[in-house]
Amino acid sequence: MINAVESVEKSTTGRLVGRSGVLRHGLLPLLLAAEIVFFSLASSTFLTTNNLSNVVINSSDLAVIAAGLTLVVLLGGIDVSTGSMLGVIAWVVATLSQHGTAPVLVIGAAVLAGAVLGSLNGGLIAFGRVSPIIATLGTSAIFSTLLFLLWNSTDVFAAPVSPLLGTGRVGGWPLVGVVVLAMFALLSYLSRQRAYGWHVYAIGNDREAARLLGVKTTRVVFVTYLVLGGCVGLAAVIYAGRVGVVQASSGSELTLSAVAAVVVGGTSILGGEGSVLKTLGGLLFVAVLQNGVVLIGVPPLWNGVLVGVAVALAVWLDIATRRGKGRRR
C-alpha cells in the first residue's frame, strides 16, 4: 500500500494548501468582508441597526427559497420556476388575507399550495425524467401566465399575516430573521443528519450508483422538489407581507437571486457538493450587495447585472477549481 500512503500525503496537502482549496473555501469570507468594509466606508447609513435589519427583512423570502433550492442543486437539479411559483402563491395569500382568513390557515394553505406546485416539478423530473431546466422553465411559464390570469388587472394589497413573518422587530432586530434561521437549521439538519439528506448528496454525485445501493432515487428527487415548493409557499407569505401588493409579475425577480445565493455560497451547480449552511453565506453576499449598491446611489436597474455576474463568476470558479475528478492515477 505504498501507493495509497503516497497519495494520502499528496491529497492531504492538496486539500490544505492547494490553490484551488483556498479559492473554494476562503474566497467567499474574504469577498464578504471586503464587501462590508467597502459599503460601510462608502455609505454612512450602511452599518446601522436599521439598515441591517432592512437587509434581513428584504432578503428573508429569498433566504427561505434559497435554503430549499440548495437541496435541489445538491441533487444535481435546478429550479427556475421558484419566482413565478412564489408569485402565484403570494396572490393566493393576499386574496385569502383580504377575506379575513385566519393567519394559521393562510400559512397552511400557502405551504400546501407550494408543495402541490413543487410536486408538479418533482413529478415531471422524477417520474417523467424531464431534464430539470426544461421542466421548470416550462412550469415557470405556466405559473407566470396563471398569475397574470388570477391578477386580471387588479393589484391585490396585503398586510403581514403575522409579525413573525413580516416586519415585526424586537429591540430594532427583525423577528423574521428567526424564521429564516430556523428554516436553515431545519434543512441543514435534514441534509446532514438524516438518511434522506445523504441520499440527496449521493444522487447528486451519481444517481445510478445511488440506485444500485438501494437508494430510492425517484422518491428522493420527487420529495426534494416538493420540499422546495413548501419553502416557496412559506416565502410567499413573507413576500406578500413585505411588499404589500401582488401584481402581474410579482416574485419573478427572485428566481435568479435564489440561484445566486446557492452557487455563490459554494454549492456546486453540478450537484453533490456544498451545503445548506454555505448558502447562508452566499445569501448574505447577495443581500448585502443588493442593499449596498442602492445606498451608494446605483440605480436598482443594475441589480440584475450584478447578480448575473455573481452567478457566472461563482459557477466558473466552481468548475475551474473542481476537486475530486482529476487525479485518476
Binding site: R194, N205, D206
Partner: protein
C-alpha cells in the same frame, strides 16, 4: 459443503438477444468460483441477476436453501449478496467514510444518522483490512483508481455478505494491490464467504479460485477445478475453437527511428525518458499503474507538455501544441478507457469511426460529404472485420471488442505515421484480442511505428520487438526481443535486484 447460492435453469432475454439460457450454478460457503467467458458470453447478465439488478425470465435461485428472488439491488444486499462492479460506481465528491455507508446509514435514536458509530465502525473495518485509516476523511474522487476499488471492496465486505461478487476487480490494480486483494479474498473465504470472481486473466485463476466455470453464448460451456486450469483448454471452451497465437517473429526490417524521445521530463509524472520507435517496429511500454506510461503517451499526443527534453518525428523536431496538432503531424492515440475517453455513446458506428477524420470529408463551407464518409466507413468495417449489421447502428450495440476495433479504425483513418495504443485489449475477450494482435502486427509490417502500452506482459511478449520498462516515471530497463523474459521484466518493474 452446503450450497449457499444456487441457480437452476436461469434464462434472460433482451429483445431478440438471448443473454442467458438455462444456466445452472452452485456455490458453497467459503468457495472461490471464477467465471470466465468472452465479452457478451453472459457473465455480466448472470452477475446482475444474482445481484438483483434484473429479474430472470425463468429459472429459480436459492440462498441458504430458501428461494431467492431479489426485487432490487437493495434486496440482494439485505439478503447477503453484494457486488463490486467492473466500472466502479461511487460518489466522487463525498468522503470515503460517507461512501462506505450510503444506503445503509446507521441510525441514532430519533432516526438521525449516527456519525460516531459510523466513524468507529469504519475505523475498525479499515484496521482489519489493513487499509490506511487516513483515507476515510478524503474525498473519494481524490483517491487513485486502485484505492477507490479497495474502498468499494471494503464496503462490500462490511455488509456481512454471504456471497461477494467481484467483476474483474484486478483490471485496474497494480501487482502489489492485486496481491492485497487476493489476500483479502482468502481471508473472506476462510470466514465462509462465497466468492464469485469474474476475470479475463488466466494467470490469476490458480491463485484466486478453487473452481471455475466457462460461459459461452449465454450457456454453461464447461466447469473445471482450478488445478486443471490449462490455458489452451480454457480458451477452447471460451471460443469453441483452438486459439491461433499471434506470431511475433519473422517480421520485416525496421527502418530509421520515426519517433524519438530525448530526456523528456514532466515533474511528478516522468523524468529523463529517452526512447525510440522505428518505422515498422512495435515497441512495448510496461510498468505498474502510476509509473507514468499514460502520461508519456499523452505527451506524445500533445495533451501534456513536457517541461524539459525534446521529441523528434520523422527526424524533424516535434513539439505538438494540442491533440489536433499531433494528429495533423501523423500521430494517432488509442486511449486506455474506451468508455470515457473513446466512444461517443449516443452516436452510430459510422459517426464514431469518422470522428477524427471529418475535416477531410467535408466539401466547401464545412458541409459533410456523406458519400465519401460512407465509403470510408465501409472500407474500415471490411478491413477490420467489424461485426455490425449497418454503419448506422448504435456503437453501444457492439461488443467491447468490436467497439475497440471501431476506435482503432478511427485512429487509422487519420493515416498516421505513429500509432500509440494504450491498453488496446483491456477487458476484451480472447478471440477478438488475438484478432487485434494480428492487426497490430500487420500494421507494423505496413511500416507504421507502433508504441503499445499494456499491463499484460504476455501481450507485450506476443507483440513487441522491444520493451521499455517504466518505474516511477523513469526508464528502468530496455529489453530487445530474445532477451525479453517475463522474470526479467517483472524484476525491472518492481525494482528488485
Amino acid at each position: 459443503m452446503a450450497a449457499v447460492l444456487t441457480a437452476r435453469a436461469v434464462s434472460k432475454r433482451f429483445g431478440a438477444t438471448r443473454a442467458l439460457s438455462e444456466v445452472d450454478l452452485r456455490l458453497a460457503a467459503g468457495e472461490r468460483l471464477a467465471v470466465l467467458g468472452e465479452n457478451g458470453a453472459g457473465k455480466s447478465t448472470l452477475m446482475k441477476i444474482l445481484a438483483g439488478v434484473y429479474p430472470p425470465d425463468s429459472g429459480a435461485m436459492t440462498l441458504d436453501g430458501r428461494p431467492y428472488r431479489p426485487g432490487s439491488p437493495a434486496d440482494a444486499l439485505a439478503a447477503g449478496v453484494s457486488i463490486v462492479y467492473q466500472e466502479p460506481s461511487f460518489f466522487a465528491r463525498l468522503t470515503v467514510l460517507e461512501n462506505l455507508f450510503v444506503g445503509r446509514e446507521p441510525r441514532a435514536v430519533g432516526g438521525g444518522v449516527h456519525w460516531r458509530r459510523m466513524r468507529s465502525a469504519a475505523h475498525d473495518l479499515f484496521t482489519t483490512l489493513e487499509m490506511p485509516v487516513d483515507l476515510l476523511g478524503l474525498l473519494m474522487g481524490e483517491l487513485s483508481l486502485a484505492e477507490q476499488q479497495l474502498v468499494l471492496i471494503a464496503r462490500a465486505v462490511d455488509q456481512d455478505s454471504k456471497v461477494l461478487i467481484l467483476d474483474e476487480p484486478t483490471s485496474i490494480l497494480t501487482a502489489r494491490e492485486t496481491d492485497r486483494l487476493f489476500g483479502l479474498i482468502d481471508q473472506l473465504a476462510r470466514r465462509g464467504v462465497a466468492i464469485l470472481y469474474i476475470t479475463h486473466r488466466f494467470d490469476e485463476l490458480k491463485r484466486v479460485a478453487d473452481r471455475f466455470v466457462v460461459l459461452k453464448d449465454g450457456q454453461l460451456a464447461g466447469e473445471l477445478p482450478a488445478e486443471n486450469a490449462d490455458h489452451d483448454r480454457i480458451i477452447e471452451l471460451m471460443t469453441g475453437r483452438a486459439l491461433e497465437r499471434a506470431e511475433p517473429t519473422g517480421r520485416g526490417g525496421v527502418s530509421a527511428p520515426v519517433l524519438e524521445l530525448d530526456t523528456l521530463t514532466a515533474p511528478g509524472r516522468y523524468s529523463d525518458v529517452s526512447l525510440t520507435v522505428g518505422g515498422g517496429e512495435i515497441v512495448g511500454l510496461y510498468g505498474l499503474v502510476g509509473a507514468g506510461r499514460t502520461e508519456l503517451a499523452l505527451t506524445v499526443f500533445g495533451v501534456l507538455k513536457p517541461s524539459r527534453g525534446r521529441m523528434r518525428l520523422g527526424g524533424r523536431p516535434y513539439a505538438p501544441r494540442s491533440a489536433r496538432h499531433a494528429m495533423a503531424q501523423g500521430v494517432a492515440y488509442l486511449p486506455e478507457d474506451r468508455k470515457t475517453q473513446g466512444i461517443f455513446p449516443s452516436l452510430s458506428v459510422g459517426s464514431n469511426l469518422t470522428a477524427a477524420t471529418l475535416p477531410r470529408l467535408t466539401r466547401r463551407l464545412g458541409v459533410l460529404n456523406t458519400l465519401k464518409e460512407d465509403g470510408l466507413v465501409g472500407t474500415w468495417i471490411r478491413r477490420l472485420n467489424i461485426k455490425v449489421a449497418s454503419a448506422t447502428d448504435d456503437i453501444l450495440s457492439l461488443s467491447g471488442g468490436h467497439q475497440q476495433k471501431v476506435l482503432l479504425a478511427r485512429c487509422l483513418a487519420t493515416d498516421p505515421k505513429v500509432l500509440v495504443l494504450d491498453e488496446p485489449t483491456r477487458g476484451i475477450d480472447v478471440g477478438t484480442k488475438a484478432e487485434l494482435h494480428r492487426m497490430i502486427i500487420d500494421l507494423a509490417r505496413g511500416g507504421l511505428a507502433v508504441l503499445v502500452i499494456s499491463s499484460e506482459l504476455p501481450e507485450l511478449l506476443a507483440l513487441a520487438e522491444r520493451v521499455y520498462v517504466l518505474r516511477e516515471g523513469a526508464v528502468a530497463a530496455e529489453f530487445t526481443q530474445g532477451a525479453i523474459t517475463e522474470q526479467a521484466v517483472l524484476r525491472a518493474t518492481l525494482g528488485a535486484s
